[in-house]
């Protein structure tokens, strides 16, 4: 780890002042630290080397509170575990509970913050290896992943500069839930729609997000989503049964009417692109249709349109297609939030059941 100084911010204004001091002098960038589970690891690997860490754990940003409109506000420094197991999250946003609990380990979920989850960096091996070229770590040096070991890499939205994927499970669910990221800087406050928060690599893979220097995430707002709570699933495929990053993951949410017709749908893929991969046209395929495997496969076709493998990860295209169909099938059957093996709702309906 590089020599670094530390300051514990007492409030948001103080944190912004400390962060902004780093912005002014580009040679001494400051980074906020909450859980630190990714930042400190990257500092140990000499991938990131901030000169100052601004500890934001004393800021009053750790609450999870119900919003007047029926939504929920997730504090930026609330821990991933506390978010996943929060009664309101489990009841109203089970897909978020499921996604968080599918990721990392209990130890890391106890430490990692919600804001930090959004800002975690790719787990591309070449990004982590500071001895090889990487456009994300050292812009302009080239991409070592292209033509290299690409099992975990992107099949959608990649560029000739970078084929890294965003590793988060939580963010896949937040994308499906139409979350809104609230940020503050010395210039004031602004809101960023979740779809606009992470970006595709393009010519600037060093920029993971649209967050500007000196901006601090304060909270993440979830609009009401109770219409989906009975039919949601987060399905994750990985190389071992637990504690591994996804090869492919899917957040699927359905609002199914009494007549068995889909009123609304949300469908997002994880670990296939530089950001959670959501295509509104794929969701539109499902609306007004009966829930069946044909409709699900059509939605998967649209979601995966233009997918291109790198050789070693070609399997992800087939896997993602099947995962979409399977996750939607699970969502029809009920909701499970990954806190137990099965919930009662999981066996209450069935895809095979004839619509009444």
């Amino acid at each position: 780890m590089n020599p670094v100084t530390y300051i514990a911010a007492a409030d948001v204004t103080g944190a912004l002042a400390s962060l902004y001091a780093g912005v002014d002098a580009n040679s001494t960038p400051s980074k906020p630290i909450a859980g630190g589970t990714n930042l400190l690891d990257l500092m140990k690997e000499r991938v990131m080397h901030p000169q100052q860490l601004v500890d934001i754990n004393a800021l009053p940003l750790d609450a999870i509170t119900a919003a007047p409109d029926g939504g929920l506000r997730l504090g930026a420094t609330a821990r991933n575990a506390d978010t996943a197991y929060h009664p309101l999250v489990q009841a109203q946003y089970p897909v978020l509970t499921a996604a968080i609990l599918a990721g990392a380990s209990p130890q890391i979920r106890n430490m990692a913050s919600n804001g930090g989850n959004l800002l975690q960096r790719t787990r591309c091996h070449y990004f982590y290896d500071a001895t090889v070229p990487c456009n994300k770590r050292a812009p302009g040096t080239g991409c070592s992943a292209i033509g290299g070991l690409t099992r975990q890499h992107a099949i959608l939205g990649a560029s000739d500069q970078c084929i890294a994927t965003h590793p988060s499970d939580m963010c896949v669910a937040l994308a499906a839930l139409d979350a809104v990221v609230h940020v503050r800087s010395n210039a004031g406050e602004r809101q960023i729609a979740f779809a606009d928060f992470h970006r595709l690599p393009g010519e600037h893979p060093e920029q993971d997000t649209t967050l500007a220097a000196g901006e601090l995430i304060t909270h993440i707002d979830l609009p009401p989503a109770q219409q989906f709570a009975a039919h949601s699933a987060y399905l994750k495929f990985r190389d071992r049964a637990s504690y591994a990053f996804a090869l492919v993951s899917v957040a699927a949410m359905l609002d199914v009417g009494e007549d068995g017709m889909v009123r609304d749908a949300r469908l997002v893929l994880g670990s296939v692109a530089h950001k959670p991969w959501r295509v509104p046209a794929a969701e539109a395929v499902l609306i007004g249709r009966q829930v069946d495997a044909v409709a699900f496969a059509e939605a998967a076709d649209v979601l995966l349109a233009g997918a291109r493998g790198q050789g070693q990860n070609d399997f992800k295209i087939t896997m993602a297609h099947r995962a979409v169909v399977r996750a939607l099938t699970q969502a029809v059957e009920g909701t499970h939030d990954n806190t137990h093996e099965h919930t009662d709702a999981f066996s209450s309906d069935s895809l095979d059941q004839e619509p009444t």
Partner: protein, 194 residues
């Protein structure tokens, strides 16, 4: 034979003063005060400054769980947090689990169930198991914890000797799970190995 070459030493640059920070921790019930650099991890502080070497440095990247300690009763990886960030907190390491000569029930259960071979992961496994019970997350759909849940919620601790059956047996016994309900089948429809 080459003549020895005399290279004049460059005058040493005056070392910039290194900033240090006060850190007060209650470790295993005792108050400790340190003055450390910002980049000292909690794990390095425990092992090298407090002399508590029970917490192990396995990977130093949060992947193995050997450094697991309890902060306010909850499990964390001591390698992935800075000591200075934990200022004022209450830390429990494996050295703090026993009461004098009386082993913690989980320590006794590890012995009874042969839950370790080389022992390197054991202190992390013990703290993780105690944290699992403290956190009370393994409750099952009907309120009854299952063996599969324990396996999932202990997955942040790797054992390369493969003592997992003994570890799960020890943890579930101390949690009061009497019936070996299920076996070692994988957990959860939402988490499928590829």
């Amino acid at each position: 034979m080459n003549a020895p070459i005399s290279v004049p030493l460059a005058p040493a640059a005056p070392a910039a003063p290194v900033a240090t920070y006060p850190v007060s921790l209650t470790i295993n019930g005792r108050q400790h005060d340190f003055q450390v650099e910002a980049w000292v991890t909690l794990l390095d502080l425990l092992r090298e400054r407090a002399g508590l070497t029970g917490s192990k440095k396995g990977c130093d990247h949060g992947q193995c769980g050997a450094c697991t300690v309890l902060v306010g009763g909850r499990r964390i990886n001591a390698c992935l947090t800075l000591a200075v960030m934990q200022n004022g907190k209450e830390i429990t390491t494996v050295e703090g689990l026993a009461q004098g000569d009386q082993l913690h029930p989980l320590q006794q259960a590890f012995i009874d169930h042969d839950a370790f071979q080389c022992g390197y992961c054991t202190s992390g496994q013990l703290c993780s198991g105690v944290g699992l019970m403290n956190e009370n997350r393994a409750r099952g759909a009907d309120g009854a914890c299952t063996r599969a849940e324990v396996r999932e919620l202990m997955s942040g601790n790797v054992c390369r000797c493969g003592a997992y059956p003994g570890i799960v047996a020890a943890v579930t016994e101390v949690m009061g799970m009497t019936s070996p309900d299920d076996t070692d089948r994988a957990f959860l429809p939402g988490t499928v190995p590829a």
